[in-house]
Amino acid sequence: MAEVWLVLKRVLGLDPALFASVYTDPGALLVPALVIALVAAASTMLGHVAILKLNHIGGLRLLSALVLSAVVMAVLQVVEVAVTWVVASVVLREPLPLLPLLIVGLFSTAPLALNFLTAIPHFGLMLGRVWQAWSYLIVVVGVAHAFQLKFWWALGFTLAGWVAMQLLARLMHRPLNWVGSRIWTLATGRPTMVTAQDILSGAPIVPVVQRTEGHR
């Protein structure tokens, strides 16, 4: 655990020596990287406790939702890294080693270990954006150092990965929503998610005019 803590601190500090060792000895950093990602996923779920509360989710269902969130986060991270890998390999005309890139991707979740702080009312949302920016910076710096690329190349490759993810999210909007909803229902036992925005839309409110008829 002490080793994971040390690696976490070095990742957050964008330590170039650490990212260089990702390329030379990726196997040694795989376990700490996975633990960091797990901590980040758990912390993210703690930050989202409001949504779960709104949906009356507790006990085993809460645990299922936590695991589900961790899996989704890992899948998204792997897809983004894979896209970055494809783009970089095509542009450089030689396949980059995948494992170091995967570890950089897992490392980039390090700032999200503080995601529980996003539960802070109002300021939490701003903190969430800061963590995301920090996370992206880790990917860029990590890719640059791990593969000894210039900063702008690393930025270009990672940006391509990010853009691809955004496009994918928009193009696959409907099927992803359907799958997400099915998985959510399986994990939590609730057919739909009620968010604060749903409440704001006024959907559950019965108009007074209807209810007042015959009352007074």
Partner: protein, 318 residues
Amino acid sequence: MIAWILGTLAIAALVFVLLSPLESLRWWADRGEREVRDTFELLPEESCADTDSHRFLVYLSGVGVLGGDELSGRELAWLESVAAEVPDVTVVADVFPYSVDNSGLLQRATVWLWGFLDRVRRRMYSNPLHFLINFRNITQVLVSSDPRYGPTQSIGLAQEIWHSLQRHGYVPGSGDPVYLAGFSGGAQMALGAGWFLRGIGVPVSLISIGGIFGDDPGLDRMGHVWHLSGSKDRMQHLGDVVFPGRWPTAPLSTWGRAKREGRVTKRVIGPMQHDGAKAYFGRRSFGPDGRNYAEITRDAVVEILREPAPSDPVLPAR
């Protein structure tokens, strides 16, 4: 040792802030959703006063208040003076804005803590300990302004305001205008609740008295927003700073939209500070024309109440 104490206090404050949304979330999970489904219940006729008023002023106090029935002497005197000036307006001032179910801090299991802090405030004002009351209520202002938690908080408050309006004679469906007068953080709470009140057909406007508020969605449903401030009140600028939706860089926010549509009026009414004897309800501090601060504030509010009621805003397409 000092660092240890400060660190402990900081962690305690962080935990307190982190837990602050739980009150409204627990309420929503336990009974709020059910109540709202039956909602905005109508009170039995015997609980409602008869009134000839067709205008209502709902006063929501600042973050120093302990409960709906715990207004300061200055506030009570000021509200009486407003009611005397505009007898055709019904003044409602029994809602605790920083709670989803109108339970004041002295009506809870932690009454011993809030009662103690209140006694400290009365006897040793210089002791900063009593600011824990303000801190607690400020966290609820932050909850209200957060799009994730705000709606659950605001729907509870709106329901309490709705009940109180009916107790004071408001006839549901009448379309009588309601002015939400929010002092300090009460302005943000008013905006949050205003969204839901307008949703059930109550025309609402906001009179902010040194109000601190964000770019709440409720702004879209306010007929008009009057922001009254004192030239020496620096606290009221917090809203301009802390809420990015109020920055000039956010012209598309609800605040930017309200300003663009001419639904915001800002008035500096005198040299008031934010809180205390030299603030908006002070009776021993006087403006250049000889009126005391409470009278200046009263006259500004009465002038608004005597204007024709604002028309409904055009809701943005969603």
